[in-house]
Symmetry: C2
Subunit: 198 residues, 2 copies
């Protein structure tokens, strides 16, 4: 299992946003949608061993399960529609329990900390950090959890929590990439078992 | 300079498509838009040494120059708007000459073959092929040209032309990726000089 957690700091938490204005009125939800696409899609199918958790403004978490997902297309608008439907089902998520508004799509009232802490219990948290080890030098974990941020940096509190939860600190290269491009790089690193198997 | 050429086999060649239906009525233009984003964008800026050429249905080519581009955001809808504006300027592109409807965005009446042949004269064409060498084993070229397809495979004629134009044949891993994810992987390979510099 590979798990990608992405925090959308400005993401919407109510379902009244416009699918035609994802980059503006919907708080850069476009970035998060591309992360879901990069996490879940192969050229002709879905990666079944992948989970993507979108944390929306530290209030909600929408979880996509590759093994269960149906009716998802890789374009931003389609994925944003799934997110909007999930947000609209929040009233059915009581406490930290999840609702499942679409097959393989779950929503809960969890912010960043509980989502990262739960992910850390189920896998090896890999922190992306400019002072980390080169990705190519690190043995790929069996159950990696990559935690990423949207167009904003992590807050100090988030970075501190992430440092505590992390088992490994890596950097993916000299350039600072968008979260979705980082996910594509991470998948390739895992697919090739650290660039050794093609 | 890095150059990515992407052929959108079903892409629109007239400007009357709906920006809210990129994956359907606009012939999977969403894929091409994500390729432009993956090609041009860093986390906080544009890659100035990158060119992305979208071939639309073997009829038109829209070229994005990273060093000249203005007013481009990484969401699909924004990029699709740029493509639509470029298509709308086609009547100002006479023969193989280009029009420049937006800064750094050029359109010409070139199909796949002339675009690939021109790219090959300016760089080292790298063909992505399941029988190619592992990407990590190949020395990164100075001026690589990656030629990719959208959600369809290359036709036999295109594959043959590409094989003739190619200097190197590589595979990026055991999984078959979307074109935009392949571009993210290729950039990381080049950024790290073949996974040696982080």
């Amino acid at each position: 299992m590979r798990h990608f957690v992405v925090h959308g700091h400005d993401a919407p938490t109510t379902a009244d946003f416009d699918l035609s204005d994802l980059a503006g009125g919907a708080g850069r939800l476009d970035v998060l949608c591309r992360c879901v696409g990069a996490g879940l899609f192969l050229s002709h199918g879905v990666r079944e061993d992948v989970r993507v958790s979108l944390v929306l403004a530290d209030e909600l978490t929408v979880r996509f399960e590759g093994s269960e997902i149906r009716y998802l297309n890789p374009d931003e608008r389609n994925i944003a529609g799934m997110v909007r439907k999930a947000i609209g089902a929040t009233d059915r998520a009581i406490g930290h329990r999840e609702a499942e508004p679409s097959p393989g799509v779950y929503v809960s009232k969890r912010g960043f900390a509980p989502t990262v802490e739960a992910a850390a219990r189920g896998g090896t948290v890999v922190q992306l950090h400019e002072d980390g080890r080169p990705l190519a030098d690190v043995e790929p974990p069996e159950t990696p959890v990559f935690v990423l941020s949207d167009h904003r940096d992590f807050t100090d509190a988030e970075a501190s929590l992430l440092a505590d939860a992390s088992d490994e600190r890596v950097r993916v290269g000299p350039a600072v990439l968008h979260a979705d491009h980082t996910i594509a790089v991470a998948h390739n690193y895992l697919d090739t078992r650290g660039y050794t198997r093609y």
